[in-house]
């Protein structure tokens, strides 16, 4: 057991899989010699060589296509998009090609690949380097989607993503890179499609993802001092979605809140809210409430960005107003 940052956990997770399986390769912009613009992949090229850890030009369509073709033919590639916002410049490859090919070919093509990308705001980069885009990926049939909130999950979900036979979009969160925790030594392998109860509670269920898990945990601590016992569920995997863990909690508490960094419309929480409304509305004792970023691009000014992204205060207010 040793303390590990979320940032270093990314390299550890990739290294664990490259060490295990020689068919795992990793490409992206500045990922090799420089170890990534966020220093999340330091040391990988020195350890695994320039063939397996390869720098690319600024060509996101080429990166996405290359990992698709490689995955079709026996490799298990990881492709990095430096910022998740850049998904927009290669969305054809992600949404039209990678996501649909197995289905459209009647199951002929397997695509065991991972698209790893730095997601999320809180770093004052402005509207084109700060978005939380997991709901884009979730909306496309054929993509699995994960977003870890802790260093341990960074490693375990990377292993699960690399070993999965289907394409996985892996969103790590820029705001969490300096987060530390003790992580066990040795191999860590997690399971896609499993949510985790971060703290148990009996009065309300708060469902969150990635950086918002920590916002929800802070809100839960404050609610505890007001005598409200909040259960915080870390969704971790949007596709497959562990509705069982979420609905079991909601049925018990009678209250569901989602905390989402994405802009309001069609965020992942809307899907969970709709599932809860369809399947356990008679167990609810109050409205389902979504705490999200407003439906705006993220502003750069710290004061404005902080207002936009859900805070513990906003979560506490929402819970107090509706439970």
């Amino acid at each position: 057991m040793a303390e590990l940052t979320y940032r270093l956990a990314i390299a550890r997770g990739i290294a664990q899989e490259m060490e295990r399986d020689p068919s795992v390769v990793f490409i992206g912009e500045d990922v090799g010699a420089e170890g990534g613009v966020f220093k999340t992949t330091v040391g990988l090229q020195a350890r695994f060589g320039k063939d397996r850890v390869r720098d690319t030009p600024i060509s996101e369509q080429a990166i996405i296509g290359a990992i698709m073709g490689a995955a079709m033919t026996g490799l298990r590639p990881i492709g990095e998009l430096m910022f998740s916002d850049f998904l927009a410049v290669c969305w054809d490859g992600v949404a039209n090609q990678i996501a649909k090919t197995r289905y459209m070919t009647g199951g002929q093509v397997s695509l065991p690949l991972v698209i790893r990308t730095a997601n999320g705001g809180g770093t004052h980069f402005g509207g084109q380097h700060s978005q939380s885009l997991e709901s884009w990926a979730m909306a496309v049939p054929g993509l699995k989607v994960v977003a870890p909130s802790t260093p341990r999950d960074v490693v375990g979900l990377m292993a699960a993503a690399v070993r999965d036979p289907d394409p996985v979009v892996y969103f790590d969160h820029k705001k969490l890179y300096n987060l530390k925790e003790d992580v066990p030594d040795g191999e860590i392998v997690d399971t896609l499609g499993t949510a985790v109860v971060r703290i148990p509670g009996s009065d309300v269920t708060i469902v969150a993802l990635a950086a918002m898990v920590h916002v929800a945990l802070e809100a839960a601590a404050r609610l505890a001092s007001s005598g409200i016992s909040a259960e915080v569920i870390d969704v971790r995997s949007l596709v497959p979605l562990d509705t069982r863990t979420i609905l079991e909690s909601v049925v018990r508490t009678g209250h569901l809140f989602t905390v989402e960094e994405n802009p309001r419309l069609c965020g992942w929480g809307a899907e969970i809210a709709s599932i809860a409304a369809e399947e356990c509305i008679w167990d609810l004792d109050g409205p389902i409430v979504r705490v999200t970023t407003p439906h705006i691009p993220l502003p750069s000014a710290p004061g404005l960005e902080d207002l936009a992204i859900p805070s513990a205060e906003r979560v506490v207010e929402a819970v107090l107003a509706s439970s």
Partner: protein
């Protein structure tokens, strides 16, 4: 075409293979057209009638393990890489016996078992994918080569540039083949590019040789293909080939192709690649019976495939929710 390519010898067996390939592709696509008019094929089709020499020339130059990626105008390429006529015609007709079980349709013909790694319906989408199949071949040391076919219109999309650049920088074993049929959908390609040759005139930007070949001459295509594929297989990197050709029909089923001048159409119809090659075989002394036997067998093959398609049921409704994931299903929650 280079002098080196022109010097590549063509055996009698290869000549017959080239003709057989073109005839089979021609008969398959004419039948797809007929079945569309009959209502058996629904949706759309993008026929490569008139462009068979490009497909046949490259197919004859490839060996087992080599891979192709094609566009929606990919019936001919997929057939000549080895997919069965029944599986292709069956897919065009969205039947259960189709190569994609009826889920892909005419624009997505694929037979991975033969190295036909897909037909792609978004212009330019497959050039980056060809990088990946070629990179994988190089990484795994298989000696396989990827050939990626696309139209002239593709040369104006960003993925073309990204792919040519990365293929050249990584020296990937891939041959990019531009089938220049003079029209990007309904618009003359000459109206939307500042150079004469949409692919070849841009090759120098990637450090590649400028190669233009008569795409209606199967021998010439074959020679260029052998040279480019051998170069890729030797690890000397990619090539970009521009084959000048012409489609006999419109862009797709919805297009009668009226925007093309009558004299232009007539001139190209007079240069039908099958007519050119049949005359060449005869002038080279191939017996008429052998030529007619190729045509007879191809007709029998397409008739047999048609009978299989007519007899095949549409996809079982139970397959709607299959094959999204590797586990065979489409579940997204527990």
């Amino acid at each position: 075409m280079t002098a080196e390519a022109a010097a590549i010898e063509i055996s009698d067996a290869t000549r017959l293979e080239l003709y057989r390939g073109m005839v089979r592709a021609r008969y398959l696509e004419k039948r797809a057209y007929d079945l569309f008019m009959e209502g058996l094929v629904q949706g759309t089709t993008h026929l490569g009638l008139g462009q068979e020499a490009v497909a046949a020339g490259f197919a004859a130059a490839m060996r087992d393990g080599d891979m192709i990626l094609a566009t929606y105008r990919g019936h001919n390429h997929t057939l000549l890489r080895g997919a069965s006529m029944a599986s292709l015609l069956g897919e065009c007709a969205q039947r259960s016996i189709g190569c994609c079980k009826g889920k892909g349709g005419s624009m997505h013909l694929t037979d991975v078992s033969k190295g036909a790694m897909g037909s792609y319906a978004i212009v330019g989408a497959h050039l980056p994918v060809a990088l990946g199949t070629a990179w994988s071949s190089a990484m795994r040391g298989t000696g396989e080569v990827t050939a990626c076919f696309f139209g002239d219109g593709t040369t104006n999309i960003g993925a073309f540039h990204e792919s040519l650049n990365l293929a050249a920088v990584w020296k990937l074993p891939v041959v990019f083949v531009c089938e220049n049929n003079l029209y990007m959908e309904y618009t003359p390609i000459s109206a939307v590019i500042p150079v004469e040759h949409p692919a070849a005139d841009r090759a120098s930007a990637y450090g590649l040789e400028s190669i233009v070949v008569d795409g209606n001459d199967a021998d010439a295509v074959y020679q260029v293909a052998v040279q480019a594929i051998d170069r890729a297989r030797r690890g000397e990197g990619p090539s970009l080939v521009e084959a000048m050709t012409y489609r006999h029909k419109g862009h797709s089923r919805a297009d009668p192709g009226k925007y093309r001048p009558d004299e232009e159409v007539a001139a190209w119809m007079a240069r039908d690649p099958l007519d050119i090659y049949r005359a060449r075989l005869e002038s080279l002394g191939f017996p008429k019976e052998i030529i007619e036997e190729i045509e007879r067998l191809a007709l029998a093959e397409v008739d047999d495939a048609t009978a299989q398609v007519r007899a095949a049921p549409p996809p079982d409704p139970d397959t709607l929710l299959t094959d999204l994931w590797a586990n065979g299903g489409a579940e997204w929650r527990n």
